[in-house]
Symmetry: C2
Subunit: 767 residues, 2 copies
């Protein structure tokens, strides 16, 4: 009797029940005997020298157990780019000066949260305010004050990419665009605010439960800050309510919780407020991008020059990666014969930016797609046609960086055109309505080792039991994206089992197999999936041996795990139930259980990623000419994620991306005034809700990626990029308004409409 | 710089800080969101048919979420002797009839504990009372009702041991004793009552936190009862507050917690009351032992016949083992040229007895030592001298059962004689005071596989890290005896590290290496210690390779891990710090971590145990002639535990044994009336407290056991046996009263003194 496959079919999320019933425990749900509650005193000033901190009144408050400042902590700087120690520029609590509004200055531990918060006001910090630098030009200006003493000019990181003959390319161009785009800071807006709970044992070793995407990174960096050995710190990831890149670093509260737990001999928990999350959490990099691009009159790309200044805020965080990725992604998706990139990561006194879903891509593609759309209009070539002319294809190479594996970009474009009835709608839409297209590509996993790990990039341990159950151990961190489900699917499928045969134990740095770099760069399905297959290969080898022995098979035969059996291929009668075969292996080994560790580290796959996703999206909008308000009425999206292992989960990821892209396009922006975030709540910071969502037609396009587990590539990040440029183009189509900054507010559209009330109305009948 | 050794020195317990500060979480300390509280409805009758159970009123009580009876549960019987399924005679909730006062009949889950308890009274059970069988003879009488339908005569297990020519032995004997001893039921009196917390996932798989000595046994049996696969049940042992053999089985509340958690989709916790523990927890087997023993007139043993009837109570529990062990131990300690043993495990309507510290030995040795003391008096040979004549020596064999390895029994006797100034005191003690000796031997680990495991008996996983830390994973269950400490000592010592370099993760059936049979038969230090050494051997092999490579050593050299270094033996300058050597191995393996799994299963070591402890103890008493009250004034004890790995911990174990032996001798007895336990609280059931304890001189004697890890044997169980016979002999020495039953109550002594006021006073000047 053949089993339902576990791969390529819709499988309910394994965490659904726990989350729906409230059984799921997030970090803030945890409690330990004698637990204390922590809170952070944060800087009210964007840039200031700390003359003195008086904690005596706070310490005197009944219920307060300790108040610490940087004077108490080991003076160790940290940052994710461990490979380049000079980029590690952050302390858990500010040393000598504060650099942004929200910079942590002191931490309190008290018997309850209210007392801890009350104590914050009693901490008196004597600040000497320093001039603040809030925009790129001010920060880079000659003679500007240094935000970090060791960084003259406030440019902490630069990146360059050069290939092809740029000058020749532009010289040959019939049409050159040179535009400046401004991209806003936006918030991850994950639903679970960060939380950490630390417990110290009698030797001062730490167990930290924390809301993180990267247990291993937190483990290593926390150890270095506390002067512990890495393996004296255990990090456990409970359920995590979203991360989107904002939870992949060691953070102040992790350090303070652990330090205070050691100091006081009691567990200490810190949980951030939404206000803290929005004002002082990481954010998507605001950027200024100048892009010069040259085409032939037929719309063929010849050269591109991209100069990007990232407002990194007060610390580097993941900025070094952002500075590279935006440039790298600027060269993706289309064939650019010549490319020049210059990226500058600039310190300002704004809150630090970090990694965020699609890292670098939403900015890079808003520019690339915006210019493609503008060129299409100017050259009189349909936006989809001009893309098809320039689209990347399988086997394309970006010298020194990447070789494109599977790539169904062309099919994605053709598919969204068909789904949206593009050609008809583009021509016939009535005034006030518009349709536009945006495209993207994204990395599937990262080949870079900025964390300087000495372990495999990902690992999986598979334990097969005589009862037919298998256990999967991995450090992979499901933060809501569904990787726990898909990893179990991969394991079950490869061993010919059902999903219910698999139990997963994940994301505990002491018990999970080492290593795993965490959840970012859309790496989990691909990399941990491959590690699982490395383990199952070993498991199957052992199982096949005993089956060969049992049936004394002719040596030409091969074997398979299928339908719960281990069997001789093509000889269905020569089969042993999976558990029975495991028992035979165990017997052969005098009781030793059948366990295999697999790992995966990408090698010889270029600088960036083993493979890439591609996709195209069409947005339809309706613009209210009286108010300028843009309403997105429909999204058509085609995504090449290789083989979708769990189509429903892929669809969920794509829809989540559209939601985030929609906010980026129309409503989200952290409004800054002199380093202060003005809209620090979900009332004022508008993420699209369920009622704001358009209908979405979503399809997966393309075939399996040969390097991917069962053919999979990524689906969680790529589709976040096309929505904004597609909407921008649709708005232009509807109104003639060209957005070169985000979000596209009603005010901007209205201002345009006031002077150009019928712009583009005449385009309707033309091609 | 050479490090302090980790072995053979006093090392503070690794759990001391957690326990002293209240950080330690026992099962009942745990809480989960939405957790419900369970309680058991227990039979008020010793033997009755269940006509009907009406749970409607209980179910109607607000706050009650479910009430279950055996009708709800799968009808699966369980018991530890999985190897002999016919011995598995227990259901989680009584089916059709109850067999003892306390037999669980129904279980309630409610929103809080008070409600659950209130609901118990609302459950109406319609019982048809059956005749109860409360003593051995009644139970075995012709025509007695059957307690279990399938067991005619109520004898559920018999055991026989025969060797040597018994008839010839007795024929040659100059002196034959034939005595009947009666041993009482006593309680483990562990401080932590049993508690279980179960959580089910959406597929019905169970995680059970439970107060257990045997996570693996609970896992397997619970799975079988619930119809799950073993590896769909995860058992985690939190801190456990004592077990002493009473927590080594699957129990009703484990099953009910898990079943209700599955049924209700919420976590459910059951915690026993002290009353339940005393009345319906396991207990030490009450036994009737008839022992016939023959000596030459010089005091040389010639033959022994032992017939033991165990009152097993209503179920087998660990009775099959008890029935064997008491007979096996009856042949230990001395050289019996001929031996005949017949053991009968009898069902009665008393509460079931189970395993308890020293399992079978306190009874066997109270008889053997009592008879030895009586023979000594009758034959006019000093009690120590008569023992020396008959003592076992290294290399002695009990045909078919055991070969004695290391054995310092003679030295123990000599040492306690010296410590107690035996010869002088025995002669000169003033009337009303007495001195007596008792001895023992005990198993170190068990070779038997009554649980029918397919895994190694014990396992250890060692993970060595580049930071010089090592992690130890094991399923071994520290229940308060200190094994977590000693296992870390073994690991640190063998890798040349400090104790602080080791972190232990233990006793989680899903994450610990499989397998481990649990904490019983004094097996943990010996068996898991050997498994650790199997793992470290593999670790060292890898480390030595890279050091050989680094120094390109002459092939004749060997290597060692010492003082935190991996080095060439005899070439201190050719050394690499441990962590650095690990990093080299990891580099050699392209990042794969250095991990080894070790295991240990005793093979070719006889039927019973790989090796045995031995010891001798002298008690000094003072008897109040007006009240008959016995006060123990001093205990001298010499113990052969091989090499004591942590002398302070051994001393603690020996003193704990003395405390338990003291209670067995003088104050402890579960007073039974028609199957009811009358003294169900620590007010009425008297365990000796700190103020009741005599001064104890405790020494370890003997050399390392070659098979033991660093030479260790057992220390946690053996010394529980000699205290009672030593005290009994001292009481006889003081008063002439011969106790052939326990406890030795003031009433008994007083009754004796009333008729023999000066008995034995005249013995003072004689030898």
């Amino acid at each position: 009797m053949s089993q339902k496959p576990c791969i390529g079919v819709n499988v309910p999320r394994v965490d659904a029940w726990d989350k729906a019933t409230g059984t799921a425990q997030y970090t803030d749900d945890l409690s330990l005997p004698g637990m204390l509650h922590g809170a952070l005193k944060r800087s009210p000033l964007p840039h200031a020298r700390i003359r003195a901190i008086d904690t005596s009144r706070a310490r005197a408050l009944p219920g307060v157990k300790a108040v610490i400042t940087s004077a108490d902590l080991p003076r160790v700087r940290y940052g994710n780019w461990r490979f380049s120690p000079n980029t590690q520029d952050e302390y858990a609590l500010a040393v000598d000066k504060v650099r942004f509004v929200g910079d942590p200055v002191a931490a309190v531990a008290a018997v309850d949260r209210d007392t801890a918060i009350e104590a914050l006001d009693l901490i008196q910090v004597d600040f000497e305010e320093l001039p603040g630098l809030f925009d790129l030009d001010a920060a880079m200006a000659e003679g500007a004050p240094r935000i970090h003493e060791e960084t003259a000019g406030n440019v902490s990181v630069t990146r360059e990419i050069d290939y092809g003959d740029l000058a020749a390319g532009f010289a040959r161009a019939d049409y050159v665009r040179d535009d400046v785009y401004l991209m806003p800071p936006v918030s991850h807006a994950y639903l679970e605010p960060c939380s950490s709970l630390a417990q110290a044992d009698s030797l001062g070793r730490i167990t930290l439960w924390t809301s993180t995407q990267t247990p291993y990174i937190v483990q290593c960096l926390l150890a270095s800050v506390l002067g512990l050995r890495e393996n004296e710190v255990r990090v456990i990831k409970p359920y995590v309510g979203g991360g989107f890149g904002g939870k992949m670093e060691l953070r102040s509260w992790d350090v303070c919780a652990a330090f205070l737990a050691r100091l006081l001999g009691k567990p200490v928990k810190f949980t951030q407020t939404r206000d803290e999350e929005i004002c002082a959490g990481r954010r998507r990099h605001p950027m200024r991008l100048r892009s010069r691009v040259g085409f032939t009159k037929d719309g063929l790309l010849l050269a591109k020059e991209l100069i990007v200044h990232l407002d990194g805020g007060a610390y580097n965080s993941m900025g070094p990666t952002a500075t590279f990725l935006v440039g790298n992604l600027g060269a993706m998706l289309y064939r650019y014969p010549a490319y020049r990139y210059r990226g500058f990561h600039v310190y300002t006194n704004n809150p630090p930016a970090g990694a965020m879903r699609g890292f670098g891509a939403p900015q890079a593609f808003f520019v690339a797609e915006g210019q493609m759309n503008e060129a299409s209009a100017d050259l009189g070539i349909d936006p989809i046609d001009i893309r098809l002319k320039n689209a990347m294809h399988p086997g394309d190479k970006i010298r020194g960086f990447a070789t494109i594996g599977s790539c169904a970009f062309t099919e994605c474009l053709e598919r969204v055109a068909e789904m949206s009835e593009w050609r008809r709608q583009r021509r016939e839409m009535r005034p006030g309505r518009g349709i536009g297209v945006g495209c993207y590509s994204f990395v599937t996993g990262g080949n870079f080792n900025w964390f300087d790990t000495k372990y495999p990039f990902s690992a999986a341990e598979v334990r097969a039991y005589a009862d037919g159950a298998v256990h999967l151990l991995t450090m992979a961190a499901d933060i809501g994206q569904g990787s726990d489900t898909v990893l179990q699917q991969i394991l079950a499928e490869d061993l010919g089992l059902r999903l219910a045969d698999v139990t997963l134990y994940a994301a505990d740095t002491s018990l999970s197999p080492k290593g795993d770099l965490g959840t970012w760069a859309s790496r989990v399905t691909f990399m941990v999936g491959n590690a699982i297959l490395d383990a199952t290969r070993q498991i199957k080898e052992e199982l096949f041996k005993v089956v060969a022995l049992k049936f004394d098979t002719n040596v030409v035969h091969s074997f398979e795990c299928k339908d719960g059996m281990v069997r001789v291929k093509g000889r269905p009668e020569k089969a042993v139930p999976f558990g029975e075969a495991v028992a035979m292996v165990q017997s052969l080994r005098r009781g030793e259980p059948l366990i295999a560790r697999g790992s995966y580290t990408p090698r010889d796959m270029g600088l960036v990623a083993p493979t890439y996703s591609f996709g195209a999206q069409v947005a339809e909008v309706e613009v209210d000419r009286d108010t300028g308000r843009v309403r997105v009425t429909r999204i058509h999206t085609a995504h090449d994620c290789g083989r979708p292992l769990n189509p429903q989960a892929v669809e969920g990821q794509v829809e989540g991306c559209v939601q985030m892209g929609l906010g980026y396009a129309l409503t989200e922006e952290l409004v800054m005034r002199q380093g202060r975030t003005l809209n620090a709540s979900f009332l004022d910071y508008k993420i699209p809700g369920a009622l704001d969502m358009p209908g979405i037609d979503s399809v997966c396009v393309g075939g399996p990626e040969p390097k991917g587990p069962f053919g999979a590539k990524e689906s969680g990040e790529g589709p976040v990029s096309p929505t904004a440029p597609a909407i921008a183009e649709a708005v232009w189509h509807a109104t003639g308004y060209r957005a070169r900054r985000l979000p596209i507010t009603a005010e901007q559209v209205l201002r345009h409409l006031e002077t150009n009330p019928t712009a583009n109305d005449d385009r309707r009948v033309k091609p």
